[in-house]
Symmetry: C2
Subunit: 196 residues, 2 copies
DNA sequence: TGCCTAGTTGGCAGTTAATGCCAAGTAGGC
DNA sequence: GCCTACTTGGCATTAACTGCCAACTAGGCA
């Protein structure tokens, strides 16, 4: 039906406008210091409607994570079967880098997240859902008895890879985006896997 | 001064009573479904006072994490100088295990945290602070030029160790505490460091 | 054209966590 | 028994949400 598509489109435009307002205000005066009322006022909608677009204030910053998680999972899944779990996950993250926003926007959002403890925690918590979804995908690459016993290995490897990705991003933000994020990720993983 | 000590003592007794009430209610009816008003009522104090003992509702569950973080740092610091960063951190976690509460209480709290997203996020936030505090401690064990350039290695190693500890705890909770937590931790770390 | 229906919007009231303020109480030290 | 330091409770307020209802808007159809 065209109807649905049209509606969705205008919805997306509205959502983007709200998002731009919110991110601008967050960057200008900080996340905690910005109220929903102010965002709604400046975006020209009611507070009530804002909550219909974004269920929570935090979703204004880490809202579209869900879509990225799906992309990550699919990418890892599609790597050649003979590729190791580590390499497949690395390939997945590499795709995420390009799929994100512009580098500037990504840096701005990342800075917001890493500078705001509550946001950072919430962001990590959202990613825990990605991790859970990745378990079966990784497990098949471990040559595991894909049986009932939950193999700690998949969970641990995924958690580690995310920990390194997070660390790399934090370093990247700390350097104002001047270093290469993929390089930093490789350095982090090397520090973990290739040291005494 | 004895005065201060006495006051502190009665404060601690009161805090413990509030805590017991809160944890009982959380276990009975869930974290989100339990209001501060109800806890205060059943503990026999005013809402206002409850917030003076525990700054936030979340602190009722992960409040004494701060003290544990301090203990972790001190323990890691005091390991023999020739011990590797990995082993020193492991020793730190081992001390935490015994310093926690009884195994039952720890299991109860852990289950609450892992089952409640907002709590889990808050818990992660506290752990991020531990991680930051550990950076200098770990860095000296890496034979690093302890200079200005922030070495990614310390950050990455710490993040990984915490990721494995978290994974181990999640598995432990999933098995109702029947497996050994330290064993699970070792399995997680082995999966990360000793695999192709 | 004009109605019908589905879906959106905004306002309003209410809940919950959290903070500031002030007055009342309480427990040592003199 | 008073003074001081500290705690407590009540009140008001803010900010993030949520439910409810009435008003609006845009296709579909006669």
């Amino acid at each position: 039906m065209f109807m649905t598509t049209l509606w969705d489109r205008s919805r997306q435009v509205a959502a983007q406008a709200i998002l731009d307002t919110a991110v601008r205000l967050f960057a200008e005066q900080g996340y905690e210091q910005t109220t929903i009322a102010q965002i709604a006022r400046e975006a020209g909608i009611s507070q009530r409607s804002l909550f219909r677009y974004f269920g929570t204030k935090e979703d204004l910053v880490c809202g579209d994570q869900d879509a990225l998680g799906e992309l990550l999972k699919r990418t890892v899944e599609r790597q050649p079967a003979e590729m190791s779990a580590w390499d497949a996950l690395r390939a997945g993250f590499e795709v995420l880098l390009t799929a994100n926003h512009t580098a500037e926007r990504a840096l701005e959002l990342s800075r917001l997240i890493f500078d705001t403890p509550s946001l950072h925690a919430r962001y990590i918590e959202k990613r825990l859902r990605w991790q859970a979804a990745l378990i079966p995908v990784v497990q098949v690459r471990l040559g595991a008895a894909t049986g009932l016993a939950p193999d700690p290995r998949a969970k641990a490897i995924i958690a580690t890879v995310f920990a390194c990705a997070d660390t790399a991003t934090e370093l990247w933000v700390g350097h104002d985006g001047r270093l290469d994020l993929a390089d930093l990720y490789d350095q982090c993983l090397a520090a973990v896997r290739d040291s005494g």
